[in-house]
């Protein structure tokens, strides 16, 4: 995967290129917007990493002027406020990260960007050793099928689609109940506890955590 890094700090640009190279990307580095235009005129890239404050102009304006079919752009900048993020994303950035960013996370987000457009949703969702097949509504842990009811499966799927994040209660209820079902106050707790039991039987205990007052969270799943 070819990535163009547009960043005026040479040291930073070099280290980032090295770090991404270790993670399987091949990178070119442009030190200014003019240089970036030159690179883009010669070759195509799968993704761009763009700093906003560059010597020959502001990255946001440059981003607005890019043609509509440009490669996905990850903005990597020191500008951290919500207003600045919104401006960046509105200008056409596909993702926005604030310096200092962890190279692992930059690589992960770049991979996500490359997956995003056009590509079909993967047939299976995988989180560690947990797998879920949305079409067959079947979940597996270490390749052993889990016998889940309809709602337990829907809860697991919802959590697996947002690994590492607390999923709000309303979002889960919307996903597992149809709109005309009346949901009693602790119905979701019952579904979660059945799911926990099934997971524990398969050797994947302690994965589904409740964050009281907010929602549920799928903890780290072993490989």
């Amino acid at each position: 995967m070819r990535v163009l890094i547009i960043e005026d700090n040479e040291r930073l640009s070099l280290l980032l290129a090295e770090g991404l190279a270790r993670r399987g990307f091949s990178c070119d580095a442009a030190g200014s917007l003019a240089e970036a235009d030159d690179f883009l005129a010669v070759t195509g890239y799968d993704a761009l990493v763009l700093d906003l404050g560059l010597p020959d102009g502001d990255g946001v304006d440059w981003l607005r002027a890019l043609t509509a079919d440009h490669a996905p752009v990850l903005v990597l900048t020191a500008r951290a406020s919500i207003g600045e993020r919104v401006t960046g994303l509105d200008a056409g950035a596909d993702d926005y990260m604030v310096k200092p960013a962890d190279p692992d996370e930059i690589a992960a987000r770049l991979r996500a960007l490359l997956r995003r457009p056009g590509t079909r949703e993967p047939a299976r969702i995988e989180v560690g050793a947990l797998q879920f097949d949305p079409a067959g509504r079947e979940a597996r842990f270490r390749n052993t099928p889990l016998r889940l009811g309809r709602r337990e499966a829907a809860l697991l799927e919802t959590l697996m689609r947002r690994p590492g994040a607390v999923v709000p209660r309303e979002a889960i209820e919307n996903a597992i109940y149809s709109w005309d079902e009346t949901v009693s106050a602790n119905a979701l707790e019952a579904v979660a506890s059945r799911l926990r039991r099934r997971l524990a039987e398969a050797g994947a205990g302690g994965l589904v955590h409740v964050v009281r007052g907010v929602g549920y969270y799928l903890g780290e799943v072993a490989e």
Partner: protein, 336 residues
């Protein structure tokens, strides 16, 4: 300082007493009251009542009523302007006293206050600009550092990366503090729902708490909305939660409770800071546990200053519960 009305009334009282004495003496001399053959007492008294007491009472009575009306009118204008100032402050907007709405005698005072306000605003603006510059300048070397660390073996780099992250968060907090102190700046103050704020921070921080074997939960007790900078408030709340999680042993629970009213509390399973200790931490910016891992020492002090910039205060929940809360003195009217 006593009130203008009281000053005026005592002035009139003195005038009445002195005037009566002087007039009495003059009238007495006129009628030869002090001579060897004084006139009859009844006639003198009648003269005094007719020509001294009644005119004096009428005159002073009318003057008192007139002055009170004038003072009331002037006070009302001052109150109107004060109400405008309070509204502007609640909306987080800059304010200048409108001179045309004030009596001319007040102008020098109002102008002086306006000049002072302008200076404070300029100062806040400069501070924000400086903090923004400093944050920007510091973040570039920090990103270089983070990437340099990436070349080290993973287990060597991990603790250093935590420190880089903590430093970066501290820089963000300082910038947010400068922004909170500059209500006229780019970052607009908006209505902030303390309920939503608490839920968001709990959702952000729960994964780490769970990873460390602690639980973090949220409850609401009917929180109000306040006007402020949401990012700054979230950052202050995050500092409190971070602090509480560090004070709570594994297996313990930290609860974020929004409300009742304009306050948000973070209750921990630790010993809880007493008032004196809290004041010390706020003042010196030392970390509550004095430990050596993660987190930057200025956290609580910055959270306190952010609360202060939103007309709130960081206080301890002791003795009823252990933990810290931010209580705001001003809230927005509830939404329908």
């Amino acid at each position: 300082m006593t009130s203008l009305r009281r000053m005026l009334l005592s002035g009139f009282a003195i005038v009445a007493v002195l005037g009566t004495v002087v007039l009495l003496i003059l009238v007495g001399l006129e009628y030869g009251f002090f001579s060897s053959t004084p006139p009859p007492l009844d006639a003198t008294l009648a003269e005094i009542v007719d020509h001294v007491l009644i005119p004096l009472l009428v005159f002073i009575g009318l003057s008192v009523i007139g002055s009170i009306l004038v003072i009331r009118a002037a006070t009302r204008r001052l109150e109107d302007v004060a109400a405008l100032a309070n509204e502007a402050s609640a909306r987080g907007e800059p304010f200048r006293a409108p001179l045309e709405a004030l009596p001319r005698e007040i102008h020098p005072f109002a102008e002086a206050v306006n000049r002072l306000t302008a200076r404070l605003e300029r100062h806040a603006r400069q501070q924000e600009a400086f903090a923004a510059d400093a944050a920007h300048e510091l973040k570039t070397p920090l990103s270089v550092l983070a990437l340099e660390l990436d070349r080290l073996p993973r287990e060597d780099a991990a603790p250093l990366k935590v420190q880089v992250q903590a430093l970066s968060e501290l820089i963000d907090q300082l910038l947010l503090l400068a922004r909170s102190n500059n209500p006229g700046g780019q970052a607009r103050q908006v209505p902030v729902d303390l309920d939503a704020l608490g839920q968001r921070v709990v959702a952000d921080m729960a994964p780490r708490a769970i990873h460390d074997g602690k639980s973090l939960s949220y409850e609401t007790a009917g929180a109000a909305r306040i006007c402020g900078l949401e990012e700054a408030l979230a950052s202050a709340l995050r500092t409190l939660v971070d602090n509480a999680l560090r004070e709570t042993p594994a297996g313990g629970e930290v609860v974020v409770r929004a409300g009742p009213g304009p306050q948000i509390a973070v209750l921990d399973g630790g010993a809880g800071l007493d008032v004196a200790a809290l004041e010390r931490f706020k003042a010196r910016g030392v970390r509550a546990d004095q430990g050596a891992t993660g987190g930057a020492g200025l956290g609580l002090a910055i959270a306190d200053r952010i609360a202060e910039a939103h007309e709130g205060e960081l206080e301890t929940c002791r003795p009823q519960e252990t933990g810290l809360r931010i209580r705001f003195t001003r809230s927005l009217p509830p939404q329908d």
